[in-house]
């Protein structure tokens, strides 16, 4: 059942009725039915606004955006969660940003380093403690290439000068020390954290090797930005680019490192996967070093082929031939996967509520499997994300910005989708409602989903979720209607 625009609008009105008048008025601005002909979203949807008091939202905080998303995947830095111990501990290693190396020797992603603020640190300030921690860390992990200070809420509240500590410590240990002002209370969602982290990379890291020219660059140097290597995503993207004849000189920031980031200025093209979290640095790279950027989409064979051709078009005929060769070579493999899974997934309806780039980028992969996306929404998108979403999504599909748990559950009750793709906060609610669910923030402990290799895993995962026999066993036996056979027997 596909809804047309009027039906979607009607459903939105029904759901909004429950709210108090003022809340309903505010929330109405965040919900709409899709119209693929729209170019600009600022007239029809409000995004990146503070969530209303009293509703349950799925958003994170600036610290989550900076430490968890942007800085977390960088493998050779020590991220100090500066503040009380909880923020670091509960966000540790949750996003499964894969890296290569030896933990505690030259990679540090799976560690929780915190300054463990106590009452006395809040009263007397934590700068001295921080400086001591940095010295100590440098002694413990001499192969680390840098240290970042990810400030938690109290740091901003008591006004500690972490920038001064960073400057002093950089001189002392001779490594990059980056203060990241990502106090959780700043901004309306994790989106500001991405911005803050991008700015810290710009101000403290990017230019560090500008006076060195030892890097031998080639005309085929590219960098991948906005790919966090969740379950190995960046690797399955990287192999395709390398097969095309391009040289990936930097990964921002999945499996990335400080020296890579400092050499990014040699790239000839910046390939941007997650626009939301890395457009800031991409714009800066273009302005300062003249590196053009382009967005690409490596979900599902149709979009991969499109993107590979677009990327190749920026280079010479050799690269273009290679791209065609890769597409021709992988297409039979993809056709086999589609032939296997499409009959099992054809016509299934999907509801998405994720963040970053997924509500629009993944649509192509679902369509390759014969599924349709009937609703998509972002936790923390801005209007430019919705500009990009309208033309990807089918006419009349629901769009919901920062959906509250009530709205999401009501939509699901009405639409009865065959699959929901969202985060861990929603997962068990929908499991209990008896609806197949994939946790699409970190691929539900699976992945990679990017690239041709990823699509095979994506298709398998969707099949094993939707066609899992457990969904018919949700009702307790005594609540089920007696089957006809049993009635006949009685």
């Amino acid at each position: 059942m596909t809804m047309n625009r009027q039906e979607s609008e009607k459903l939105i009105q029904e759901v909004l009725e429950v709210y108090p008048e003022e809340t309903g008025k505010q929330r109405a601005k965040h919900l709409m039915a899709n119209d693929p002909t729209l170019e600009k979203s600022n007239k029809c949807i409000v995004a990146n606004k503070k969530a209303l008091p009293g509703v349950m939202t799925a958003r994170g905080c600036a610290y989550a955006g900076a430490k968890g998303v942007v800085w977390g995947p960088v493998k050779d830095v020590l991220n100090i969660s500066h503040g009380p111990v909880g923020c670091g501990q509960f966000s540790r290693a949750g996003r499964r940003n894969y890296v290569t190396g030896y933990s505690g020797v030259n990679i540090f992603n799976d560690m929780n380093i915190t300054s463990d603020f106590q009452e006395k640190d809040v009263v007397f300030g934590g700068d001295k403690k921080l400086a001591k921690i940095i010295t100590e860390l440098n002694g413990l992990f001499p192969l680390a290439k840098g240290i970042t200070i990810q400030s938690e809420c109290p740091i901003g509240l008591i006004g500690d000068d972490i920038e001064a500590v960073a400057k002093k410590s950089t001189k002392e240990i001779g490594k990059v020390v980056v203060p990241v002002r990502c106090e959780g209370f700043r901004g309306v969602s994790q989106s500001l954290g991405h911005h803050v982290a991008n700015d810290s990379l710009r101000d403290w890291v990017l230019h560090n090797r500008d006076d060195q020219d030892s890097f031998e660059s080639t005309p085929y140097d590219v960098c991948i930005t906005g790919d966090y290597n969740i379950g190995g995503d960046a690797w399955s993207s990287r192999v395709l680019l390398e097969e095309m004849g391009l040289r990936v000189i930097a990964q921002w920031s999945g499996d990335g490192s400080i020296p890579e980031m400092e050499s990014t200025r040699h790239a000839k093209l910046n390939l941007l996967h997650c626009y939301r979290s890395m457009n800031y640095i991409s714009r800066h790279l273009e302005e300062k070093y003249g590196i053009p950027w382009m967005e690409f989409n490596f979900f599902g064979p149709t979009k991969i082929a499109e993107s590979l051709r677009e990327i190749a078009a920026r280079f010479d005929s050799k690269i273009q031939e290679n791209a065609e060769r890769i597409i021709a070579q992988r297409q039979p493999v993809m056709d086999a996967i589609i032939a296997k899974y499409r009959p099992r997934l054809e016509g299934k309806r999907v509801l998405l509520f994720v963040g970053g780039l997924r509500p629009r980028h993944i649509i192509g992969a679902y369509e390759d499997l014969g599924m349709e996306v009937i609703g998509a929404g972002y936790e923390f998108a801005h209007n430019d994300d919705y500009d990009r979403t309208f033309k990807e999504l089918q006419d009349g599909a629901l769009i919901y910005d920062d959906a509250t748990s009530f709205e999401l559950e009501s939509f699901v009750e009405h639409l009865k989708p065959d699959l929901i793709g969202s985060g861990i906060k929603e997962k068990y609610v929908f499991h209990k409602m008896g609806i197949p669910f994939r946790q699409l923030h970190s691929w539900d402990y699976s992945g990679p989903y990017h690239g041709y290799d990823g699509f095979a895993i994506f298709a398998r995962d969707m099949d094993m979720t939707i066609n899992n026999p457990c969904w018919s066993k949700i009702k307790a036996p005594w609540q089920q209607k007696a089957s006809e056979e049993m009635q006949a027997a009685a």
Partner: protein, 70 residues
């Protein structure tokens, strides 16, 4: 006096981007665009107008500039 970034998009149009607001609009008219002077009054696709102190020569884009809202 917002800080904006001016850049050319893939289609060759001049794009006006307000970093703080994530607000991106194409420029529909630029008062002076020739050699000798570049800038002046800018009109965007959403109808809003800004003033950019003219440059002597067309600058290398992208470029972050301060503009005045009219």
């Amino acid at each position: 006096m917002p800080n904006v970034m001016l850049r050319n998009n893939a289609a060759g149009q001049l794009v006006f981007y307000v970093t703080k607001k994530d607000h991106e609009e194409t420029v529909v008219s630029l008062e002076f665009s020739g050699p000798g002077a570049w800038g002046g009054e800018i009109e965007l696709s959403d109808g809003s107008r800004y003033y950019l102190e003219p440059f002597d020569q067309p600058p290398r884009l992208p470029l972050t500039v301060r503009v005045k809202r009219l």
